[in-house]
Amino acid sequence: MTGAAPLLEVTDLAVEFRTPGGVVRAVDGLTYQVEAGRTLAIVGESGSGKSVSSLAVMGLLGPTAHVTRGTARLNGTDLLALPPREHRARCGQDVAMVFQDALAALNPVLTVGFQLTEALRARHRISRGEARQRAVELLDLVKVPHARERVRDYPHQFSGGMRQRVMIACALALDPKVLIADEPTTALDVTVQAQVLRLLAEIQAERQMGLVLITHDLGVVAGVADDVTVMYAGRAVEQAGVLGAFRSPAHPYTRALLQSVPQLGSRTRLPVIPGRPPGPGDRPAGCPFHPRCALAQDVCRADPPPPLVEAAPGRWSACHFAGDVLRGAAVPAETTPEGDPR
């Protein structure tokens, strides 16, 4: 969170959904920034708003959702204030996105080569030969073997890992400055995941892109991220450098989440967080994490959700007791009755 001027700077973003049951706030006051050559991981469970926030930045929200507050500055321009058409155009150009399900995100009836250069051809007049050449270069870039022949293939002719590479290549077609990857390896096998993550990290380092990696997998975060934003129930609850966040978390949720990750080392009973993450429609009053938190006091239940404050240099936490948590105040992993869903 230090160093050069941020490429992408999201400030106080709020996104609401209109549902038959009323207005639901999926993202509430999210702030983050990405710098060139750095990777920010946004971590959260289902319903935390991590994907919705990036769709909002990309201008890809559905008709029932809208941004009610906040800015997303890319090199100083607020994307969210742009008219939709310009927003889309900027997004292809300067910010690109990689989705989880490559099979669904690629059009099955168009060749990979066509889809790779679609964005390019829409913006510049280039010849067929040039477009083809560019498509081959892009496939080479993501290390798809036999790129020259494969540009003529259709998405279903690629394996899962190769398809994800094709999608990364699509996203890189216009040389974006920022890449947002939403669970890019969740659908992949673990040996293939390792390849794709390494590829992403290499390309990012080479081009000094800013990378926003949205994931639920703390192992992936630990492996590639520089900074971490932990989201819970639509809010950022902790922001820190990856080493700090993993070594001495400043929010009880981060700590509990890290403890609940199954370890390879030896067989143990898994520590759990009781209850379940709240959906956007049934968030508790007060600090949204208090029903599952081992440290919860009356203030957590009564006061409005605590804001993100700097508990130590570079360590932001949205907890009334951030200081205590950061110092490692002892919390046994299973003090509350486990897994009681009632």
């Binding site: 199954p262 030896s266 897994g339």
Partner: protein, 353 residues
């Protein structure tokens, strides 16, 4: 031998691939499971790990009797299922039950929870109509759900709770063996532990034996007593969990363990540490000859045996592996109950450079 409750021997399950609209010819087969032998000990948990296409889900479906094996035997308590009468097999269904991966599609959205959990009673009539409501309430309580929610519908529950409903349904007929196919992979991390612990508790409480199938090695580590690693329809390594996790001998198991992302930020992916496999698993329609793993094996090309002179007339491959790897199917061999199917199997410590 009576210690083994469930055993498969040389199990093969092929799905024919057909072409043509009118005259459908069989042009090949998906070799989903290709000669698997496994044994489940009473009261223990057998973890089966593998990537997509490894055949682990097909194995589960054969074990619970949804699919008929192409060849090979499934033995329950030492009796070959294929020799049983229809009635006996139906009774057997009660003994071997399944927990499914996706809690969103494995429950009928138009049935209430009490109908779902009570369906096994309706099918097998093990409990008279009047007693079923109470039995359903007991089951819901057993899996940690509020029995007063029995009249709710699946969509009113979260993923973890729905998975508990699925477990309650599987337990209704008091099975002795539970086959869990990726039971937690669709759940949030913070909820996964709850379900894994519930399964472990139920197993101890009810004396169940279980097969736990997953792609997540870390989850399996925390519940399994013994482990089998599958690749392309075959078991490439099996043995006691501690032995396999701490001293994997098959290069595939070693790569798999090394690829699991660990929640430790000092281990960076870009360091180049760990074993990185090339490419994706091959298609089970046309698996490679010899050792199914030889096309992606990181070990084989580094072996001195790989540089044997190429016989005249054959072209020199860019990627060279020992002839035995591409020519012979390795057998599961080993000692102390820990077996690996590799011609050059050895603990990782010796080969790590």
């Amino acid at each position: 031998m009576s210690d083994v409750v469930l055993e498969v021997r040389d199990l093969v399950k092929h799905y024919p691939v057909r072409r043509g609209l009118i005259l459908r010819r069989t042009v090949g087969a998906v070799r989903a499971v290709d000669g698997v032998s496994l044994a489940l000990r009473r009261g223990s948990t057998l973890g089966v790990v593998g990537e997509s296409g490894s055949g682990k889900s097909t194995l589960a479906r054969v074990l619970v009797g949804i699919e008929e094996p192409t060849s090979g035997q499934v033995l329950v308590d030492g009796t070959d299922v294929s020799t049983m009468s229809r009635a006996d097999r139906r009774a057997l269904r009660r003994d071997v039950q399944m927990v499914f991966q996706d809690p969103y599609t494995s429950l009928d959205p138009r049935m209430s929870v009490s109908e779902i959990v009570g369906e096994p009673f309706a099918i097998h009539r093990t409990i008279p109509r009047g007693g079923r409501d109470r039995a359903v309430r007991e089951l819901l309580e057993l899996v940690g759900l509020d029995p007063d929610h029995a009249n709710r519908y699946p969509h009113q529950f979260s993923g973890g709770q729905r998975q508990r409903v699925g477990i309650a349904r599987a337990l209704a007929l008091r099975p002795r063996i539970l086959v869990c196919d990726e039971p937690v992979s669709a759940l949030d991390v913070s909820v996964q532990g709850q379900v894994v612990n519930l399964l472990a508790d139920l197993q101890a409480e009810l004396g169940l034996s279980s097969v736990f199938i997953a792609h997540d090695l870390a989850v399996v580590r925390n519940i399994a007593d013994s482990v089998a690693v599958m690749y392309l329809g075959r078991v490439v390594e099996d043995g006691p969990a501690d032995s396999v996790y701490d001293g994997a001998r098959h290069p595939y198991s070693q790569a798999l363990l090394s690829a699991v992302p660990v929640a430790d930020p000092t281990v960076r992916l870009s360091d180049g540490r760990g074993i990185l496999l090339e490419g994706d698993p091959p298609s089970p329609v046309s698996p490679p000859s010899g050792c199914p793993f030889h096309t992606r094996c990181w070990l084989a090309p580094t072996l001195p045996e790989a540089s044997v002179p190429v016989p005249e007339g054959e072209e020199v491959q860019a990627r060279r592996v020992p002839p035995s790897c591409s020519g012979e199917v390795p057998l599961l061999v080993g000692a102390g109950g820990h077996h690996a199917a590799c011609h050059f199997a050895r603990p990782l410590a010796e080969v790590r450079r």
